[in-house]
Symmetry: C2
Subunit: 448 residues, 2 copies
């Protein structure tokens, strides 16, 4: 009982009391990297069907024009903007990952804070601090029940993201400790999302809700909308309902000393993480042999690569994101592995199909999950080897700031070649010296 008492209150106090001065420099920088990556993936997703449909529907009910929709000229009320930007950021599964929980941490939190920053005066340091704290509590709430929570079918980005959005928004609103507990309670009772919906538009509903409902929970709490004292660990609370025995030590251990944001990975490729080391090998080899004709490819990797991505036959872009055969083939053929390479059209390309059939997969427990090797036989009979011990974007080999900037530039150019994102990039890196960030999100909208 003593172990369970007060865990929500401890998180609330942590969010309320932590100051910008308490945040180490590397954590501050990582927060900016997460925002660069967020704008990249939100731009990449901003015109997909789930976002288009949700925007059309929400616009029928919204009168507000308070907030920016990343990549689009329409404006909408702040709650709906939080929904739409979160949905867009996560729609391609191209966003960042907190690997131990499999939470995509920025999609629910950043949109809530950016929308709020268009309603209330917020400094860059305020924004980064709120983002870091929201990220921290959602990761820790998830760590206590990982990996079983996700394995059971809960879409953990949604079910924990609502707490991150509530905590971060509550920080910007300067909630006191009691109000913060209320915000987390109203967030808890809105926590929802099922992995069964992955690959369909319905996924976007729970991710969008995490941002919207987290933001709303904080706004309501500020106005006196109360909640229970222990929504997480109470006998009829979050953890009990989702039928987990949480390891509550993981929620609070080292709180304010270690930062889960530092364990965030960013994806260079819009496909399953296990495929990434394979793509590193193939793309590197292709860069060195731009015209060589390929006769056969043998891929070797950790057994998880097979469990998750052994899909020699796929027919949709969505499926191709978890097919190592498709990924290797399309990367060999085009020398690229961006969103276009995982589109419906590419999957049906006869050249890709032909090459896909030449990919052979070997499961080898000697590899780690971020390692792989390829053996490429060219038409002239020569055999080429490449290997990767730590894939780009993994903890051990993180994407550089320049690579993240490049990801953002490519995403922006995908919809609007004239969209100059240099001001956006500059603004993110300079956030800690900005007194008012209300215009930040609007830099992610192409000028006409």
């Amino acid at each position: 009982m003593s172990q369970t008492s007060g865990v929500t209150q401890r998180l609330a106090r942590f969010v309320v009391e932590t100051r910008w001065d308490n945040i180490p420099q590397p954590v501050r920088h990582q927060a900016k990297r997460s925002l660069i990556n967020f704008f990249a993936v939100a731009l990449a997703g901003c015109r997909t069907a789930p976002v288009e449909i949700a925007l059309r529907s929400l616009a029928e009910f919204s009168g507000g024009k308070q907030a920016t929709i990343v990549g689009r000229c329409e404006r909408i009320d702040a709650l709906s903007a939080a929904f739409l930007n979160a949905a867009a950021a996560n729609v391609h599964d191209f966003c960042d990952t907190h690997v131990r929980t499999v939470i995509h941490p920025t999609a629910p939190v950043a949109p809530a804070l950016l929308a709020l920053a268009e309603l209330r005066e917020v400094s860059g340091a305020d924004l980064l601090l709120a983002f870091i704290l929201g990220n921290e509590i959602q990761a820790r709430i998830g760590l206590a029940i990982s990996p079983s929570h996700y394995s059971r079918g809960w879409h953990i980005t949604s079910t924990c993201g609502v707490f991150g959005a509530a905590g971060g928004a509550g920080k910007l609103l300067r909630l006191d400790e009691r109000q913060m507990v209320w915000a987390l309670g109203t967030a808890a009772t809105q926590a929802a999302g099922l992995c069964e919906c992955l690959g369909t538009a319905a996924k976007s509903a729970s991710v969008g809700n995490a941002a919207r409902n987290g933001l709303w929970s904080a706004l309501l709490a500020q106005q006196g909308f109360d909640g229970p004292p222990e929504p997480l660990a109470g006998v009829q609370g979050y953890y009990n309902a989702i039928a987990e025995t949480p390891d509550l030590s993981r929620v609070t251990e080292g709180l304010s000393e270690s930062w889960e944001l530092m364990a965030t990975s960013y994806k260079p490729y819009p496909c399953g993480f296990v495929i990434h080391p394979v793509l590193d090998c193939v793309l590197d080899w292709r860069a060195d042999h731009p015209t060589a004709e390929v006769a056969r490819i043998v891929v070797r990797g950790h057994p998880l690569l097979g469990d998750r991505a052994d899909r020699p036959d796929v027919s949709t872009g969505r499926e191709s994101q978890v097919s190592v055969q498709h990924a290797a083939a399309v990367a060999l053929l085009t020398g690229k592995a961006g969103l276009d390479e995982f589109s419906n059209a590419r999957v049906r390309d006869p050249d890709v199909l032909a090459l896909r059939s030449k990919v052979e997969l070997i499961r080898d427990p000697a590899f780690s999950t971020i390692a792989a090797s390829v053996e490429i036989t060219t038409a002239d009979g020569r055999i080429h080897h490449r290997s990767q011990s730590a894939s780009r974007g993994s903890d051990a080999n993180p994407m550089s700031d320049a690579e993240l900037e490049d990801k953002l530039r490519r995403a922006a150019a995908g919809w609007e070649p004239q969209h100059d994102v240099a001001p956006l990039i500059d603004a993110v890196w300079a956030l800690d010296s900005s007194a008012d960030v209300s215009a930040l999100a609007s830099l992610a909208v192409p000028r006409k």
Copy 2:
């Protein structure tokens, strides 16, 4: 596997294919009774703090004035109206109950349909049919996991209500079977709500969301927002995530032959059901002995009465709703058991406190949960007995139509003595002959 396949599709088909002609007369009439009761409880709750705060906050983001808020002159967008009217209807726990699941069935469904009826042309028969079908699927989805789902801490009105709202709204929108499965999928991934929040404003968030998100799921599905084929019984779907082994036969057995709406109970008193037979005894006795001074009251009832309502000391109106001592005392003192008798002020009334201490409770397994007896000793030393074998409002002794009308009249008069609800009552009873019900909800707003 065969048992689990297609349960969502079967429910979707049932909703899509069932016609008004298929609905037996008693079920049609019960639907109207549920609406009378709904307007009563929504009127009773329409100016409580959770509704006031949520309205103030939503109004900041909503530009629409499409829909009515029961009991209030403000208008708001249809999604927000669905939220607010559901929250208001459930806030006092005075609404109807499907006893086997403990779902309060009308609060999530009716507000979604009434809001939609202000957006699209809907006949009275359409409205009743959609209400009956939404009610049916939410009850059946809940029956498959009752009672464990509620016991574990899930607020089942919220977690199943979202399906009822989606199904009912989908029926009004004339979704086809595929779209209806999508709507139920987007509903499933938004299913949330924790009993830990009971007694706080946070409860209203999940109940309101059930109506709002169910309605929105149907609207999205109509526009092509897709979802998985088996959101309920899929391996990462609703039932698996909430960690239940559903009895799927209860979802589909007798579908379109029996009607769960007939198992709806309406509450004559705004307190726990187990207390109702005690109130019947006390109020009947007091009516016959209006001036007798009471020295001692011995209450005898099923052990559940003790488990749920043995609270000799309570300090808030909310707690008093589950205190048999308070209920017996206040009913003896005032001869009434309405909302005023369970207010914060009443709980602190010295006369109530004095009488409360004279209430003694005996648990007796010989009683059913809807039966009780009281033994009242008056100051003159005489002992009076009353007993109730089936409480008013229970399945075995349902409230009459006239009693429901009276409940509605009292609730309306509580906020606005001049509010004439006769046109509303007449309109509900005449629903099956109404070609357009867009003005129905507005009859629940007092004229200034």
